[in-house]
């Protein structure tokens, strides 16, 4: 069909020289072509048409074709002849009776008045006088209204064709007076077909895969696609290869995207950063890279949601092998989360002077999101929790009934979480001890978590190490290595601070300082505790009975480090932090209700310190809290000797042993009901926190991250052994 040769004319852009001259050449828009051709064949031509659709879908082309067909000297046929004088004139744009009006330049009422006046005269040489009003959405309101009358009942022999990309800007009165045709975006296949035709016509050799790439970039617009083809030809001359085309369009090779995502899947920071570095050092436009990545993830979403593989991948043949390899690695939630992050990034990228930094940070965040992919939905987390709870309950855990009295005091979000968490932490403590049932009950759960979190879980299950591990697989190991000896050196093992001084520091310095620094979470953890001793470089804090959750949180690496640094600042030398639990409840059930109680309970402690100093003399007046504290003190002594965490737990465990066995019968029932009540509250709180907003930018992130470390740590801490 394409008989024209562009060579003998001055060079024209491809989209102009290859504008279809016959209805049969039009690609896509079958619904429009068929309707128009039928109307032409039947001789029933409307007096006003409205063509709307996005850029490059063929509106102007169709308008010109229609004008040609209407005025063809061979009569009104479904196809213009293309040879007669009139057809030629339309093609060259010099037909007197086909008037192309640029409504964007002539948008006022005066221009329309002028048009209206002239439209009354009959066509000069042809059957019809055709007004093609392009960009009609730019007419002013008055101009539209001036047009209404003539648009409704034009003089005989006048046909209006309005074309616009933004039909919603037209008054409804105009739209209703026209026959409206909506032009659709072209499918990749259609664009590629046309591009092949054009390329062949120009003797330009290009692979189909490359054409698909162009079509994809053109997003369904034929003019864009032809423009890109022209760009390729300007660069390549006779032929262009796929990789050259990528380069011309400023796109990155699919491998780069694959590599980056693979790094995310494997949690491999190094290779991910290397992939980014590669993209940057090639001088790629990161905005485009981001678009490509978004597109890639979008396809993955489509594949995930079970859409037809063949259809989804047909216009991305280059990506297909990569996509298929990644198909099962992501779940839909993590994909959506990742897409959201990328979306937020693209806005920032535009205004940033160091876009590569932004990309790197986003990458780190993506890695984190991916690592927690199984916990992104509240349901998943909930069912996981429920599962754990069941196991805990069926294990008949004795720690559950503890700490009912103290609950009302805890503040902040830890409070509702305290029930199950406390139980969980208790299990943690019990593990290496003699009491086997809890450990047994928990073993399968541990396995599951280990597989779920992948590398995140540390093998030894030391909570400190674990936290480092979850946040920084690459960096932490080295860090831990060179920090330890340093701390050892600074310590002053001989110093001992008496209790009075300790309490002074605790109440008047440490707690206010923490509050001042707005570490409310840590304040909440500590406020019910009290200093117990400080000697041999170990600062011991005593928490009320049943505060094992608080204990666990305080002992997490970050919090511990923070408190230790504060203590170092206040005491003037470095100390290690230890936390012990009071074994038996106070008879008032109130640990630190008032000053009065404070003073009262000083007695037992002084007693105990004295006791311990005298190497376990037995002078206890206050049998109440003593035995347990003594246990704890013993534990510390033992620990100093062996420096092992296991023994620590071990002895704590033995402390436990008296307690629950003594009162298990009575306490257990009460503990059970307490849990279920607590549970609801906990779950509600959790849902609120989750509510799809886990990983957010900016200040919220802090909160959510804290939440993360709190929830994930505690889940892994207690299961990974």
């Amino acid at each position: 069909m394409s008989t024209r040769s562009p060579e003998n004319k001055p060079y024209r852009a491809l989209y102009r020289s290859w504008r279809p001259q016959f209805f049969s050449e039009v690609v896509g828009q079958e619904h429009v072509v068929r309707t128009l051709q039928n109307a032409l064949a039947a001789g029933r031509v409307a007096h006003a048409y409205l063509f709307c659709g996005l850029r490059g879908t063929g509106k102007t082309t169709m308008a010109k074709l229609l004008a040609k067909a209407l005025n063809c000297l061979e009569g009104i046929n479904p196809e213009p002849c293309g040879r007669c004088r009139s057809c030629q004139e339309v093609m060259d744009g010099r037909n007197m009776d086909v008037l192309e009006i640029d409504a964007a330049s002539n948008r006022g009422i005066d221009e329309i008045r002028d048009l209206r006046d002239k439209a009354r005269y009959a066509a000069a040489q042809n059957r019809f006088k055709v007004y093609i009003i392009d960009e009609v959405h730019m007419l002013t309101n008055e101009a539209f209204n001036a047009l209404l009358k003539i648009l409704e009942e034009p003089p005989p022999g006048v046909v209006f064709i309005l074309a616009t990309t933004e039909v919603y800007k037209l008054p409804l009165t105009v739209v209703s007076r026209c026959q409206r045709f909506d032009f659709h975006l072209l499918e990749g296949k259609q664009v590629v077909g046309r591009l092949q035709e054009v390329a062949r016509g120009m003797n330009f050799s290009v692979e189909e895969e490359t054409l698909y790439l162009l079509a994809r970039q053109a997003e369904g617009s034929m003019r864009d696609a032809l423009g890109l083809l022209e760009q390729c030809r300007a660069y390549g001359g006779e032929k262009v290869s796929y990789s050259e085309a990528l380069e011309i369009l400023g796109l990155t090779a699919p491998e780069a995207i694959y590599n980056l995502l693979q790094a995310i899947v494997e949690g491999d920071n190094l290779s991910g950063l290397a992939a980014i570095n590669e993209v940057v050092s090639k001088g790629k436009d990161l905005q485009r890279f981001l678009q490509e990545m978004t597109l890639y993830l979008r396809r993955l979403v489509l594949l995930q949601s079970g859409s037809d593989e063949e259809k989804t991948l047909q216009d991305v043949p280059g990506l297909k092998p990569y996509l298929l390899r990644h198909k099962d690695k992501f779940n839909d939630l993590v994909l959506l989360e990742m897409l959201e992050i990328l979306q937020g990034l693209s806005g920032k990228l535009r205004n940033s002077s160091q876009p590569s930094f932004l990309l790197e940070l986003a990458f780190l965040r993506l890695v984190r999101v991916y690592r927690f992919r199984d916990y992104l939905s509240p349901e998943a987390l909930l069912s996981r929790l429920e599962e754990l709870e069941e196991k805990l309950q069926s294990a008949g855990l004795e720690g559950l009934n503890a700490g009912t009295g103290a609950k009302s005091q805890a503040s902040g979000k830890e409070k509702p979480a305290a029930g199950p968490e406390r139980a969980a932490a208790a299990v943690d403590d019990s593990v290496p001890g003699e009491i086997l049932p809890p450990a047994d009950g928990k073993a399968p759960a541990g396995e599951e978590t280990a597989s779920g979190l992948g590398k995140a879980a540390a093998p030894e299950g030391d909570p400190g190490l674990l936290e480092g591990e979850t946040h920084s697989p690459a960096g932490s190991s080295g860090k831990v290595g060179f920090e330890e000896p340093e701390r050892e050196a600074e310590r002053e093992p001989e110093r001992e601070v008496d209790l009075e001084q300790l309490r002074e520091i605790w109440h008047n310095k440490l707690l206010p300082e923490i509050k001042k620094q707005r570490k409310h979470n840590i304040y909440a953890l500590l406020q019910d505790g009290r200093p117990f001793s400080c000697k041999k470089g170990v600062f011991t804090i005593c928490l009320p009975q049943g505060y094992s959750f608080h204990k666990g949180r305080i002992e997490s690496t970050r919090n511990k480090k923070y408190i230790e640094s504060l203590l170092k600042y206040l005491l003037g030398y470095a100390v290690d932090l230890r936390v012990i639990l009071q074994e038996k409840p106070e008879e008032t059930g109130n640990w630190f209700g008032s000053q009065e109680e404070n003073t009262r309970e000083e007695n037992p402690r002084e007693e105990i310190t004295r006791e311990v100093n005298a190497e376990k003399s037995t002078a206890g007046k206050n049998a109440q809290g003593k035995s347990s504290l003594e246990e704890s003190e013993q534990e510390i002594n033992k620990k100093e000797k062996t420096k092992g965490k296991i023994t620590n737990r071990h002895s704590l465990r033995s402390g436990y042993k008296h307690n629950p066995l003594n009162e298990s019968g009575a306490g257990y029932g009460a503990g059970g009901t307490q849990i279920s009540g607590d549970n609801d509250y906990f779950i509600r709180e959790m849902l609120e926190l989750f509510d799809g907003k886990l990983i957010e930018a900016g200040s919220n992130e802090l909160k959510s991250r804290e939440f993360w470390s709190f929830s994930i740590d505690s889940v892994t801490e207690e299961t990974d052994e």
């Binding site: 060079y11 024209r12 852009a13 102009r16 996005l54 850029r55 490059g56 102007t60 744009g93 640029d102 964007a104 330049s105 948008r107 392009d134 960009e135 730019m138 990309t165 864009d224 423009g227 760009q231 300007a234 660069y235 001359g237 011309i248 400023g250 920071n269 190094l270 950063l273 570095n277 940057v280 050092s281 001088g283 790629k284 436009d285 990161l286 485009r288 920032k348 535009r350 205004n351 940033s352 002077s353 160091q354 590569s356 930094f357 932004l358 940070l361 780190l364 480092g468 946040h471 920084s472 690459a474 960096g475 860090k479 920090e483 620094q517 707005r518 930018a697 992130e701 802090l702 991250r705």
Partner: protein
């Protein structure tokens, strides 16, 4: 020296040259890239080449036509600048009238539109028709630093060349050619400019970067040891300085290096090594081994600094912002 004076845009130049030599230049071009990426230089070279009277390797930059174009007095060379904050439809109407005549001296009429994204909506729309089917011999060159703000209908009518950011190697080449910076300072410039040649040249002509870096390092050190009161004094001091933006940028680079190091990447910026010898204090340790700062902290700091960078462009209370930043650096917020 014609197109060769532009570094790093080899693809675009190759395409332009080929279309020039084969006489297949199309009627509308769009050059896009951030401010300082070299759009204007490229556009001027291309405009010169279109009318250059030398047969070989246009533009020669020495013939009458080239010189006229460069100084903007060529009768066939039209330029359109934003009037105030935008390009108005009246300006375009006026321009279009003259565009329909044949070229007077040259082969082509060239119309260069600066800041094309600043065209008002009516103006952009009124350009559409002539942009799609201009009279023969008319070439449009649109320049835009925000191509996404252009009407898609405008973009689709023109051949879009996006200038790419320069890779570090290309930047080095550029700086070596253009100025006499010391190698260390060059590294800082490259890191700060982020692939933007215009910015790099601006920075290098301003100079004094090494001194700034030293100051920033000292600041970092003092921040870690100062008491809280002194921090606020420092914040006030810094927020009054003219080079606040630069300090923030340098801080960002330092924190990024720390972060990368914590993640196990050897920082590629060699300035740290050189600096070490230069300044005689243990700077490397300060930058690389900040003492167990964890990755989350560093990442957060990078994010804060990036945010602050953007905020500083808007009219914010600088003192407050710097105070908050310092507190963030101490991990208190």
């Amino acid at each position: 020296m014609g197109f060769e004076e532009i570094i790093g845009q080899d693809l675009i130049i190759r395409a332009l040259k080929r279309s020039l030599s084969s006489g297949q230049t199309t009627h509308a071009y769009l050059f896009s890239g951030p401010d300082g990426s070299g759009k204007k230089s490229l556009a001027f070279l291309f405009a010169q080449a279109l009318n250059c009277s030398s047969e070989l390797d246009p533009p020669c930059k020495s013939c009458l036509s080239c010189r006229k174009t460069l100084s903007g007095i060529h009768p066939d060379f039209y330029q359109l600048f934003p009037e105030g904050a935008s390009i108005k439809i009246g300006q375009l109407r006026e321009l279009k009238e003259s565009l329909y005549y044949f070229p007077r001296e040259g082969r082509k009429k060239v119309c260069l539109i600066h800041g094309a994204d600043l065209m008002t909506l009516p103006a952009a729309n009124s350009l559409l028709q002539i942009l799609e089917e201009p009279p023969a011999d008319l070439v449009f060159i649109l320049l835009s630093s925000r191509p996404w703000a252009l009407l898609p209908t405008v973009v689709s009518r023109s051949l879009h060349f996006a200038l790419k950011p320069l890779s570090p190697e290309e930047m080095e080449l550029l700086l070596k050619r253009q100025s006499l910076l010391e190698p260390q300072e060059r590294e800082i410039v490259i890191a700060l400019a982020g692939g933007n040649p215009g910015k790099a040249l601006e920075l290098s002509s301003k100079g004094g970067l090494k001194k700034s870096l030293e100051e920033v390092l000292l600041l970092l050190e003092s921040l870690e040891n100062e008491s809280l009161d002194n921090i606020f004094i420092k914040a006030e001091e810094l927020s009054g300085k003219e080079n606040l933006q630069e300090v923030i940028n340098l801080l960002l680079i330092i924190y990024r290096n720390r972060l990368l190091f914590e993640l196990g990447v050897r920082p590629e910026i060699k300035l740290i090594k050189d600096k070490l010898q230069y300044n005689n204090i243990n700077v490397e340790e300060k930058i690389l081994f900040p003492g167990g700062e964890n990755i989350n902290y560093l990442e957060r700091m990078c994010r804060h600094l990036l945010d602050l960078q953007g905020e500083l462009l808007n009219n914010i209370n600088k003192r407050l912002a710097v105070e908050v930043l310092f507190l963030q650096m101490r991990g208190a917020v």
